[in-house]
């Protein structure tokens, strides 16, 4: 049933596809973390943006990621914006998770004591300096675990990109399957790979958490 020589044969192909999956994850997450931060900052710095941003975040969170992927890939071209599959997929992942990340940042900012903001005003710091030197350095460390969880969640959703034929792991495994009529090895390998990567990143996140907790807090 399980054929090791077949495994050896498809491993290089899958390894190459795994790189695409990891790329999509990293780019998608950098996008999510950055855009999420921008959204969270905007609602504090420009209170008038708070309502539109909540609506947008709610909209993104209440529709399936797959629909958003399809939207960017299949619907955007009719508005004259044509994206290749990888770009559309990564963009959708990034935007989708930006909505979640922005809420995480928001809880981080909400946990900063009002007195910190007031001290910044009393010292006449600019809003930019206030965020950069005082608020963000205090708000981020406690939310690293939550952000890390979203990194892992985003990674586990990259197989959705196979729906628009991005040659990531899942899509590659499907192609191998349909060409050789053997699904056991490729699909199992993909599962094992996701399991291994999730365990590795969970360990990494915990290490980062410990590192951050070592610094003296309040």
């Amino acid at each position: 049933m399980w054929d090791w020589s077949f495994v050896l044969e498809i491993l290089p192909v899958l390894a190459h596809a795994a790189i695409i999956s990891i790329e999509a994850t990293l780019i998608g997450f950098v996008l999510a973390a950055t855009l999420g931060l921008v959204l969270a900052l905007a609602r504090i710095a420009f209170p008038s943006t708070a309502l539109p941003i909540s609506v947008l975040v709610e909209l993104i969170r209440s529709t399936p990621l797959l629909i958003q992927i399809f939207f960017l890939y299949f619907v955007f071209p009719s508005f004259g914006v044509t994206l290749d599959a990888f770009t559309a997929g990564v963009l959708a992942l990034g935007i989708h998770y930006a909505a979640y990340c922005s809420e995480v940042y928001r809880s981080g900012f909400d946990n900063i004591h009002r007195g910190q903001w007031e001290a910044c005003t009393a010292l006449n710091l600019s809003s930019w300096t206030t965020f950069r030197d005082i608020i963000i350095p205090q708000a981020i460390p406690p939310i690293v675990p939550a952000l890390g969880n979203y990194l892992v969640a985003l990674f586990k959703e990259t197989p959705l990109l196979s729906a628009i034929a991005v040659l990531e792991l899942m899509q590659t495994a499907k192609i191998i399957g349909s060409e050789t009529f053997r699904y056991t090895e490729p699909i199992t390998l993909v599962g094992v790979f996701f399991l291994a990567m999730s365990l590795v990143s969970a360990t990494l996140i915990r290490a980062v958490e410990r590192l951050l907790n070592r610094r003296p807090a309040r």
């Binding site: 007195g115 910190q116 005003t121 009393a122 010292l123 600019s126 205090q138 003296p216 807090a217």
Partner: protein, 259 residues
């Protein structure tokens, strides 16, 4: 003391919904003057300081600092609401120390004291550190420069907060019950620093305090607030020696009773 006030509250009112916290307040404070603000809880003492620090907006009137409007600015000969740039310019003359210290917990005492001088005044690190070192020395914390707030006692934290505010060279310093959050044995060291400031610097000081003894000994003037108005004010000798208003008498009686 000159006859031109450094701070002037000109018919300033503050309301929270239906609650009028300050009612058409008029108060002039002169250069170098040490004013103690006392009064029952909820009488608006903190609000006065917070409005001057621009932590609260005002609903009516104008606050003047050093002859220039703080809450407003002149536009075509008229006073209009100040914009952020104007507020920042005038606010630079004022520093504040809070009841709860509000030090930046992720920064050492030294870093707390150089942050604003470097980012706001554009000072070089070296110069900012030299200034901060002098100030930390002045508040008796020369040995604690590299300590984080969590590694300092409440009294030490409050002294860092004083040094941090002074590093911006304000002309006016605001103190809001700066010893209220401290254990009794730590109150003295903070008051000692404030005393030193009173004699060493030509600073205008405005402090809200429940320490009647300190107010009496330190202040040039006592302002007694009651329900958002100054009910009585005067030199501490007369104020404590022969208060005129019945509310003042009641308040002093209650406070002195409590010890």
């Amino acid at each position: 003391m000159t006859d031109k006030p450094i701070v002037r509250f000109d018919k300033v009112s503050k309301r929270y919904g239906p609650l009028t916290v300050l009612d058409s307040l008029e108060l002039d404070i002169f250069r170098g003057e040490k004013v103690a603000i006392i009064g029952p809880s909820g009488s608006g003492k903190t609000t006065v300081l917070r409005m001057l620090m621009t932590l609260e907006t005002i609903d009516d009137g104008v606050i003047w600092v050093d002859g220039e409007p703080l809450t407003h600015m002149e536009r075509n000969g008229k006073l209009v609401r100040a914009d952020q740039a104007h507020i920042r310019k005038i606010r630079a003359r004022i520093g504040m120390v809070f009841q709860s210290f509000n030090l930046f917990p992720h920064m050492t005492a030294m870093a707390n004291c150089i942050e604003a001088p470097m980012t706001v005044l554009g000072m070089k690190r070296q110069d900012a550190e030299a200034r901060a070192a002098d100030l930390l020395d002045m508040v008796g914390l020369a040995q604690k420069k590299e300590h984080y707030p969590s590694q300092l006692s409440g009294g030490q934290q409050q002294r860092v907060a004083i040094a941090r505010a002074l590093a911006m060279r304000p002309k006016i310093m605001l103190f809001d019950e700066v010893t209220s959050a401290l254990d009794p044995e730590l109150v003295g060291e903070v008051l000692q620093v404030i005393r030193k400031l009173g004699s060493e610097h030509d600073l205008t000081m405005l402090m809200v305090t429940h320490q009647m003894g300190f107010a009496k000994e330190f202040a040039d003037r006592i302002c007694f607030f009651y329900q958002g108005k100054i009910c009585e004010q005067g030199h501490p000798k007369e104020f404590f020696g022969s208060p005129k208003n019945d509310r003042t008498k009641q308040f002093l009686h209650a406070v002195l009773e409590a010890g």
